[in-house]
């Protein structure tokens, strides 16, 4: 129950730049713990049924009421460039804006920028900013704030994890108060999305040490909600910003309650003391069926932005042969894992992208459960069961390897067990080892001392996967820890991030997905679903590819159903 929050920390890095305003709640905070399961939250009764907009009545929108959100972890710092936990970023997404954001269909649209132009050579982005936007303290927002945000992020004294994209900038110029010109050294496609980073108020931060700024706990942004109060470890309270440039949000107050235990969280939900939480598959399928809950709450389900995989150490002689990896993929019954571990609330992953997004390529080689084919491929590679003990041998060695995964993530350890059983049937002896996160990374991943691992990645909205698949990214702290190397993939990754043309990018990433599916450096396992449950008095929630959070300011409670009136 008290597994460390470090359970799959990679989820936390959900490329926040863009997630701020967009939908899903990959609840990861340091906090994080049981989150693992929270991520797999979602909404309806039948499998495969996409959540649809709920239009059960037509009560008119009204202002007022309070939305009581819940989180397992407290926020750490409300200046978003200084924190990387999801609690901080959940709150920050309501307080700040970037220049651009991902809209409900995951295409980039303007936020603080009204429009932008990319020069034909892809080197210069010119942003036209909205006029008349004010910081919460009333001062006007201008291009100088953007310049300042850039400067503070790349300042070597700023302890931020987000500087990389901004370091690609060669020159940045404030043309006038509402025009910003950014020049890059070479065309860099993720650049545009990187401007989804929250813009910071220059007039409050300039010339001061940002790490000691009072804005960490008393933030001032441009967003739909204004900061009101933060009681450490208990709650964070925000109030609607009446002068928000897209109009005042309907819901008047937003309270973020911190309840570190997921069982307690669920009890608070049952007593309707909180209005939203992310459910686990068990809670979703088996514990929220009572008439009482069905009538007070509504459940949603949609694919989350993450996938789980079995990764092979390609430096290990065992996995150098592609046929072996394909054989293992054939021997795994992915649907069985989804049904057993996620109670059906997920989809088979075929590659590193989320089904339904523009970069996803459905036409790649698939590996349906096929034990005969697995045997065949293994035999082709020279592995045979010569002594009849059920385990394959080659050159006097038996086929045996260890799957490593991190402690505190039930979904992963259970998946490992199911895979272990299926591989045994195929004649492969699998051991499972579960290791505490810090040790896992330091002793096994960074030293490449593993044979196979079960881990997960957050799926970024931008398809650039250079850091994970490019062969230059295999140094100790870097993320291509399976040592994947394919010259064609390298070239495509470089090409894909070097152009802003979406069709051209899609061609690159489609091909990459084909190659990855063929070569199986990872056996891609599944994409879990997000399973939020929200109090039924909230209307206007419209699930979209981006999830549900993207239009939070349009959610409302009809006047006669408002619960918290005494504001």
């Amino acid at each position: 129950m008290f597994d460390c929050g470090l359970a799959n920390p990679e989820m936390r890095h959900a490329r926040y730049q863009m997630n701020f305003r967009s939908a899903f709640r990959l609840s990861f905070s340091l906090s994080l713990l049981i989150l693992t399961l929270m991520i797999f939250s979602g909404c309806s009764k039948k499998k495969g049924e996409e959540a649809k907009p709920v239009s059960y009545d037509s009560k008119p929108p009204a202002y007022g009421d309070t939305f009581v959100d819940s989180s397992i972890g407290d926020a750490s710092n409300l200046i978003p460039i200084l924190s990387s936990d999801s609690a901080s970023h959940d709150i920050a997404s309501l307080l700040y804006n970037g220049l651009v954001k991902y809209d409900k269909d995951l295409t980039i649209s303007g936020d603080l920028a009204e429009s932008w132009q990319i020069s034909p050579d892809g080197l210069v982005i010119t942003f036209k900013l909205r006029k008349g936007v004010a910081w919460h303290d009333g001062k006007p927002f201008t291009a100088n704030d953007c310049l300042f945000t850039y400067q503070v992020i790349v300042d070597p004294r700023t302890p931020t994890a987000y500087a990389e994209d901004f370091k690609q900038i060669k020159k940045i110029k404030v043309v006038d108060d509402y025009t910003l010109e950014v020049c890059y050294g070479k065309p860099f496609a993720p650049a545009l999305a990187s401007w989804g980073m929250a813009m910071l108020p220059r007039h409050l931060l300039e010339g001061k040490d940002i790490t000691k700024s009072p804005l960490s706990r008393n933030p001032v942004g441009t967003g739909p909600y204004r900061f009101k109060e933060w009681v450490t470890g208990q709650k964070i309270v925000l109030e609607a910003n009446p002068s928000y440039f897209e109009g005042c949000p309907y819901i008047g107050r937003y309270i973020y309650r911190i309840i570190p235990d997921s069982a307690t969280l669920f009890l608070e939900l049952k007593s309707a003391n909180i209005d939203r939480m992310g459910l686990t598959p068990i809670q979703f399928m088996r514990q929220t069926g009572s008439r009482e809950i069905q009538s007070t709450f509504r459940k949603y389900r949609y694919l989350s932005f993450s996938y789980t995989y079995l990764g092979f150490n390609l430096k290990s002689p065992l996995f150098m042969d592609k046929r072996i990896r394909q054989a293992i993929s054939c021997a795994i019954d992915r649907q069985e894992i989804i049904d057993g571990v996620l109670l059906g609330l997920g989809r088979i992953a075929t590659g590193p992208y989320k089904p339904g997004t523009w970069q996803y390529n459905p036409n790649v080689r698939k590996y349906p459960y096929d034990p005969a084919k697995a045997r065949e491929l293994l035999a082709e590679a020279g592995w045979r069961d010569s002594n009849g003990d059920g385990i394959l041998e080659k050159d006097g060695k038996i086929f045996q390897f260890t799957i490593l995964t991190n402690q505190g993530n039930d979904v992963r350890s259970k998946s490992a067990e199911i895979i272990q059983r299926r591989l045994k049937e195929a004649g492969v002896d699998v051991k499972i080892r579960i290791v505490e996160w810090a040790t896992f990374i330091k002793e096994f991943i960074n030293n490449r001392k593993f044979e196979a691992v079960i881990l997960g990645w957050t799926i970024p909205q931008d398809p650039d996967l250079y850091d994970i698949w490019h062969s230059s990214k295999t140094k100790p702290d870097e993320l291509n820890f399976i040592s994947y190397k394919n010259i064609e993939v390298d070239a495509l990754l470089e090409k894909g991030r070097g152009t802003f043309n979406q069709d051209e990018r899609k061609r690159c990433y489609d091909r990459i997905q084909e190659i990855l599916a063929e070569e199986q450096p990872y056996a891609f396992l599944f994409v879990p679903e997000a399973l939020p449950i929200i109090h039924a008095r909230f209307r206007g929630i419209e699930p979209a590819p981006a999830g549900i959070n993207y239009n939070f300011i349009k959610w409302y409670v009809p006047t006669d159903e408002q619960k918290y009136r005494d504001r």
Binding site: L30, S84, A163, I259, L267, W437, P460
Partner: protein, 324 residues
């Protein structure tokens, strides 16, 4: 007496620094570093950014240098700043959490005392009676039951089904202080379950302790003397026996001084109480060295003081010790 006190205090100094030294090096032995949460498995972080973060927290210096820097600050009573992204002063983070933890611990210690002493005395004076056997079973059940499980059951009963008590937190959500009485009532309601449960687990040890002390004392000659003098059983038990049986309690109280600031992670997590247990747990998990050290230093200090106080009050309470 003063010479004794001075000697004890002087001896405490090297002990104290020894504790800080060992703690400092031990926590740095654990794999992982404070920057991991921000940098690990994060595609957006370059090796250079990791170096930058490490330098910001001073982690690039050799360990003994880090210790000396930390120690230098400590001598000026400065616990430094947290390594978590909030970068707040350690002392501030501790100060904001310590009151609620002390409050719960004091209340539950008090509750333990007023329940365990009578249970212990009665089971001793009525040894092997039904009451003795019943309380033995009862307190051991209390000791053995996983408290998080019991907590959840009570939360379901009183919080969800009956709706009498709040489920978690330390005050109500939309709570505007209308009158002092309402504030106290609201706080009390929130504290009932956590205090009750944390006392429940502690009952067993304490009541058994009182019982066995009491059994030992009532077999002493001076109790026979007291009875022989014709004193009533009541006076014998509560005046002569109990006073002697409770002497070791002083030691226990002294030892529980550092425990007062150490919250239980389990209770605090289940009841969403922002106390010291959670703070310590999360700072360990995120390798937030300054906060860990801050709490350990305060703990070490209180342990040493607690021991000293126990020894002193023991000698005050027990003439036999005073003279030796």
């Amino acid at each position: 007496m003063f010479a004794y006190l001075a000697k004890r205090l002087i001896l405490m100094l090297p002990l104290f620094f020894g504790i800080t030294l060992i703690s400092f090096f031990v926590i740095h032995l654990a794999p992982g570093s404070p920057t991991d949460l921000q940098t690990q498995m994060n595609p957006k972080v370059s090796t250079e950014a990791i170096q930058r973060l490490r330098a910001f927290y001073g982690l690039d210096k050799p360990l003994h240098v880090q210790y000396l820097i930390w120690l230098k600050k400590l001598i000026k009573l400065d616990f430094g700043n947290s390594f978590s992204p909030d970068n707040r002063k350690v002392i501030e983070k501790i100060a904001e959490r310590i009151p609620v933890t002390i409050m719960i611990n004091v209340l539950s210690l008090f509750l333990i005392l007023i329940v365990a002493v009578p249970i212990g005395v009665l089971s001793a004076t009525h040894q092997n009676s039904f009451f003795d056997k019943f309380t033995t079973v009862f307190v051991f059940v209390g000791f053995a039951v996983p408290t998080f499980w019991l907590a959840l059951l009570l939360m379901i009963l009183f919080g969800v089904q009956l709706g009498w008590l709040p489920i978690s937190g330390i005050k109500s959500l939309g709570y505007e202080p209308s009158s002092l009485f309402m504030i106290i009532l609201d706080r009390t309601k929130h504290f009932i379950l956590p205090v009750l449960l944390s006392a429940f687990g502690g009952l067993a040890g304490f009541s058994r302790y009182v019982r066995s002390n009491m059994l030992e004392v009532i077999r002493q000659d001076y109790i026979k003397t007291a009875r022989a003098k014709g004193l009533s059983e009541r006076t014998v038990v509560y005046h002569h026996a109990l006073r002697n049986a409770l002497l070791p309690v002083i030691t226990i109280l002294g030892l529980s001084v550092p425990g007062l600031i150490g919250g239980s992670v389990i209770f605090e997590t289940i009841f969403a109480i922002p106390g010291m247990g959670q703070l310590f747990y999360w700072s360990v998990m995120s390798r937030d060295y300054p906060v860990i050290m801050g709490i350990l230093v305060i703990g070490a200090f209180l342990t040493l003081i607690g021991n000293l106080l126990a020894d002193l009050s023991y000698s005050l309470a027990d003439p036999r010790i005073r003279n030796t």
